[in-house]
């Protein structure tokens, strides 16, 4: 009777130790809360146009432009002073900008000014 109780207590203790060890091994411990991944939106540059030409995003969103065209392009804010301005993007190069304030951000390609787009941040 006594022996059986000891075995039961030892088993319970082992299980508790195992739980503690397992929880300690997890990345964030017991308080493991998943942080929401920052929102990202991709704008493709192809065939002398931005696609989609207008994107509406929430504050804090990162917009990434990727040049899928065969020729170089830029992404330059129309506002003065310029909110953002990329270097010349060759094929498959990217440019990202995080919009921290609400507003409407028109932009264009300075190599081909007829290429225009808008980011609306709400």
């Amino acid at each position: 009777m006594m022996k059986g109780r000891r075995v039961w207590i030892a088993g319970l203790a082992a299980a508790m130790i195992a739980m503690v060890l397992l929880s300690a091994g997890s990345p964030n411990g017991a308080a493991n809360t998943q942080q929401a991944a920052p929102a990202t939106v991709e704008v493709k540059i192809d065939n002398f146009s931005f696609g989609p030409a207008t994107v509406t995003v929430a504050v804090g969103t990162t917009v990434t432009w990727i040049n899928r065209d065969d020729i170089p392009h830029t992404v330059v804010s129309t506002d003065d002073p310029k909110a953002f301005k990329s270097k010349v993007l060759d094929t498959d190069e990217k440019f990202s900008y995080t919009f921290a304030k609400p507003g409407t951000y028109p932009y264009f390609c300075s190599v081909h000014p007829k290429m225009t787009g808008t980011v609306v941040v709400k």
């Binding site: 146009s49 020729i71 010349v88």
Partner: protein, 151 residues
């Protein structure tokens, strides 16, 4: 947003527009001059040589604003950032084209100062090379501007 084709002010003051307009003058004048020069060489025609000289003069002069506006577009549109790829190749070939046009003009100008002299035959391969480089530069320029591409 559409562009009004009759909005002269916008067209003239656009920070990139002058180069793509002006570039057609030296290209046309130089290609015409070379065509006339080859014809003059075959026909031994002095009148054509005169036409070649003035075409080359105007072609060489017109390269000055073309190079200037090209460099200005680089500064204005791209804020002078380091170029690479097609843009860099276009810049280098453009400068080489301009130098070759001036070289061909200089050969003709030097001979013209001495009426007894005839034009050296070595100018013909130089002119052919210059036509090739000018054509390549123009092709790259058209590609960059979207004229030679799907846009």
């Amino acid at each position: 947003m559409s562009i009004n084709p009759f909005d002269i002010k916008s067209a003239l003051l656009a920070k990139h527009a002058q180069h793509v307009v002006l570039i057609h003058f030296p290209i046309a004048l130089f290609l015409g001059a070379v065509a006339f020069d080859y014809l003059a060489q075959c026909k031994k025609n002095r009148t054509l040589v005169e036409a070649v000289y003035f075409n080359l003069l105007l072609a060489a002069i017109s390269t000055v604003p073309v190079v200037a506006t090209g460099l200005a577009a680089w500064q204005w549109a791209l804020e002078g950032q380091k170029l690479k790829g097609i843009l860099l190749m276009h810049l280098i070939l453009g400068c080489v084209s301009s130098a070759l046009i001036w070289l061909v003009f200089w050969i003709h100008w030097r001979v013209r100062r001495h009426p007894g002299q005839s034009l050296p035959k070595y100018r013909l391969p130089i002119e052919a090379l210059a036509v090739l480089i000018v054509g390549l530069t123009g092709h790259l320029g058209g590609f960059l501007s979207g004229v030679n591409g799907p846009g």
